[in-house]
């Protein structure tokens, strides 16, 4: 190779080019399609993995639903999209198919709820305003059941608690729910702490109200808590006057509930397990001490009981222990009279310690115990008496009071219900005395009195006219004479009158005289000897020094 080639060497002489080191290059280019395939496959896999479940929901109406546009939202976060809207086979419902994201799969329980969110304007709230612009969407609330489900029946109205806030659900039992709506507020000391989420009519005819109390206020619900209906305005014109009560203006419109701690010594008012409460009609009823079982008593009044209403209180020595539940007219065959039969519901427990002590002997709260107890009281003079609660309203109530003066009556403790002896009401007594008073007023000889009075007045008039015609002229003469007398007296007393001058001269004279007398008296005081020796000549007062030198020798 030392000789440099001058002509192009032939093909055969050339060394084969060193291409081995470049052989890997084209293999490197295959990395690109492999990488592309890997990316594509990973995308497919992740897409497939993210592919959520497809569910169907049936609604009564598909108003506003748009395929591919309408979203399914859980807690206002999009979790899916409507993929198809079709009619069901029986054309009764609209079947909405939706593709949900993978993370939403866990939310699909048997009792998961779906509803269409539309703008709603209620008395209590306005909701779904955003859907005015963006169109409707399907709201979703997950359930608690263990079973998974893909087919759902949509709700026509959104549930009261769309996004399960933390808190406690409680069941309240009541005879009637009052004016409550789903979504009605629940108040604790006038703070809204929850809402009514459901109302059910139980097979036995009573109502069960489900309420939700939000955290942290659910801590206020204790076993002693009492719930009552704070619906609307509670205006009560009863024997105890006019009462108006309301929790809030909203409660006034849509109804509401309130709760608070019951009396602390009260036994738990739970009607069943935890979270079960009794719903009382009003706060007064809710806050009353536990009454125990009511007992029914019968009272026959031989008098009209106008003003006694059903619900009027029955008071035992001034304490409300029950209420009147019926006022009927009875018939007494013996004397063919019509007594008023009053049935009352009383709670013996409200009589306090007395009942406890008395029944302790009987050990049980049986009817016999009560009968024996009431028998003892009747023996001591317990009587039922209708009394006027308020003169203004004229309402009556039944007072059970001890009237030892009343005649003894036999008490039959075997009667069911117990029959209490009665006495005439105080209002009737009052009426009778007013009657008597009116009778006496009627008996007064009013006409005679009026006639006498008239005669007297005539006489008086005559006397006065006599006085006018005869006595008055004389009086005039007398008055003019008096005037003259006073005139001359005035002249006599004038300053320039001789009498006046003489008097003043006399007075100055007597003053001088009195002065001389005073001087004399002074002199005599100093020189009593003058009375005997006569008056000595007046000595000039001497200087003190001269006088001492004079007197010493």
């Amino acid at each position: 190779m030392s000789a440099a080639p001058t002509t192009p060497p032939s093909e055969g002489e050339l060394p084969t080019p060193a291409l081995q080191n470049r052989r890997w290059m084209p293999r490197l280019v295959w990395v690109v399609p492999i990488a592309a395939a890997v990316i594509g496959i990973s995308l497919l896999v992740s897409n497939w993995e993210n592919e959520g479940p497809r569910i169907t929901i049936s609604f009564l109406s598909g108003e506003g639903l748009q395929v591919g546009k309408t979203l399914v939202k859980y807690r206002d976060v999009t979790v899916g999209r409507v993929s198809a809207v079709s009619l069901s086979a029986d054309h009764e419902t609209v079947v909405v198919s939706a593709n949900l994201s993978k993370e939403a799969a866990g939310l699909l329980k048997e009792d998961t709820q779906f509803w269409i969110v539309r703008p709603r304007f209620g008395v209590g709230s306005v909701s779904g305003l955003d859907t005015l612009l963006s169109g409707v969407y399907i709201g979703m609330k997950t359930g608690t059941a263990a079973r998974r489900e893909r087919q759902f029946a949509g709700l026509e109205n959104p549930p009261a608690l769309a996004h399960g806030p933390r808190g406690r659900e409680l069941q309240l039992h009541a005879a009637r729910a009052g004016s409550l709506n789903i979504g009605a507020p629940v108040y604790f000391r006038q703070f809204q702490v929850g809402r009514v989420i459901d109302e059910n009519l139980l097979p036995d005819g009573s109502t069960r109200v489900s309420v939700f109390v939000e955290a942290p206020y659910d801590g206020f619900v204790k076993p002693v808590t009492r719930f009552w209906n704070a619906s609307g305005i509670d205006v009560k014109l009863g024997a105890d006057g006019l009462k108006v009560q309301t929790e809030s203006l909203a409660a006034l419109l849509v109804g509401g509930l309130a709760f608070d701690d019951g009396p602390t010594e009260a036994v738990p008012a739970t009607a069943g397990g935890a979270g079960q409460f009794t719903l009382y009609k009003n706060e007064t009823e809710a806050m009353a001490a536990p009454d125990g079982e009511p007992q029914y008593v019968l009272m026959r009044f031989a008098q009209a009981l106008r003003g006694l209403q059903v619900g009027a209180p029955v008071e035992f020595v001034g304490v409300n222990i029950g209420s009147v539940i019926a006022v009927n007219l009875g018939y007494e065959r013996g004397d063919k009279s019509f007594p008023v039969v009053v049935t009352a519901k009383v709670y013996p427990r409200r009589m306090g310690d007395a009942y406890a002590v008395l029944t302790a002997q009987g050990k049980t709260e049986s009817h016999e115990t009560l009968a024996a107890f009431v028998g003892t009281l009747v023996e001591r003079g317990l009587r039922a008496q209708p009394r006027s609660a308020s003169l203004l309203t004229g309402k009556l109530y039944i007072a059970l009071d001890f009237l030892p003066a009343s005649p003894r009556v036999a008490f039959d403790s075997s009667n069911r219900p117990l029959e209490l002896p009665t006495v005439k009401g105080t209002s009737q007594e009052l009426e009778a005395s007013v009657d008597r008073l009116v009778q006496k007023l009627n008996d007064l000889p009013l006409e005679q009195i009026a006639a006498d009075f008239h005669t007297d007045l005539t006489d008086l008039h005559e006397t006065l006219s006599e006085l006018h015609t005869r006595a008055l002229p004389n009086a005039e003469d007398t008055l003019s004479a008096l005037h003259r007398t006073l005139d001359s007296a005035g002249r006599t007393l004038e300053v320039e009158s001789p009498l006046q001058r003489g008097l003043s001269e006399t007075l100055s004279e007597s003053r001088r005289t009195l002065q001389a007398v005073r001087e004399l008296a002074d002199y005599l005081d100093r020189h009593p000897d003058a009375l005997l020796r006569g008056r000595r000549p007046q000595k000039m007062p001497q200087r003190p020094a001269a006088s001492s030198s004079d007197t010493n020798p």
């Binding site: 192009p8 084209p26 399609p33 395939a37 594509g40 612009l133 963006s134």
Partner: protein, 205 residues
């Protein structure tokens, strides 16, 4: 055409960059063009293999580019992810058939045609086919030329995303699909570039 001699028979190599015909014997060890100093080969080595690799990559990228959304628009009236095909259908339905056709040609038809064309070229070269050699060369030139025009979609998305940013009222964002679409265009261009059109004229040994 039958009597024409191949350049190799004459010991000549044409530079692909500057077109200079060089005697093979005068090439240095570094095998660079004496005029433009670019690497000079009688035939680009492993041209068909490289082209095929890029082509397969392009076809693979073409699938997600069309399936994945290229743009996400959100506004007062809701949010929407749009794919290329979805956008075309939208324009077509709303009556803008001309725009629909334009986008269809630029975004769907052109890349697809490129796959077919390059595939056809590769196949015929492999078989040393002597069918329509001149037409195939023209086809290659066309494929090389129209490659850039497929970037239309990418530019549309880039412009829309940049201009449509009104927060609540409306906003557009690019989505993964457009990246794949961009990759399709780049990869197919590379595929076309790595194909050596001289192979079309090679006779079987």
């Amino acid at each position: 055409m039958t009597a024409l001699k191949q350049s190799l028979e004459l010991g000549l190599i044409r530079c692909r960059t500057c077109g200079l015909a060089v005697f093979r014997a005068y090439l240095g060890v570094d095998r660079r063009c004496p005029r433009c100093r670019s690497r000079i080969e009688h035939r680009t080595p492993f041209s068909t293999e490289t082209t095929l690799a890029w082509l397969i990559a392009g076809i693979v990228f073409y699938i997600p580019a069309n399936l994945l959304p290229v743009m996400h628009t959100s506004g007062l009236l809701g949010e929407e992810d749009s794919t290329i095909l979805g956008g075309i259908l939208g324009f077509w339905r709303s009556g803008d058939w001309d725009i629909a056709v334009l986008i269809f040609i630029a975004s769907i038809a052109v890349p697809f045609t490129k796959f077919i064309a390059i595939g056809l070229l590769l196949l015929t070269v492999r078989k040393n086919s002597r069918w329509q050699q001149h037409q195939r060369t023209v086809l290659y030139r066309i494929v090389e030329f129209i490659g850039y025009w497929s970037m239309l979609d990418v530019i549309v998305v880039a412009l829309t995303s940049a201009l449509m940013q009104f927060q609540v009222l409306g906003a557009a964002e690019p989505r993964a699909g457009i990246a794949f679409f961009c990759a399709v265009v780049v990869v197919t261009m590379l595929s076309a570039l790595s194909f050596d059109p001289r192979l079309i004229w090679d006779r079987p040994a």
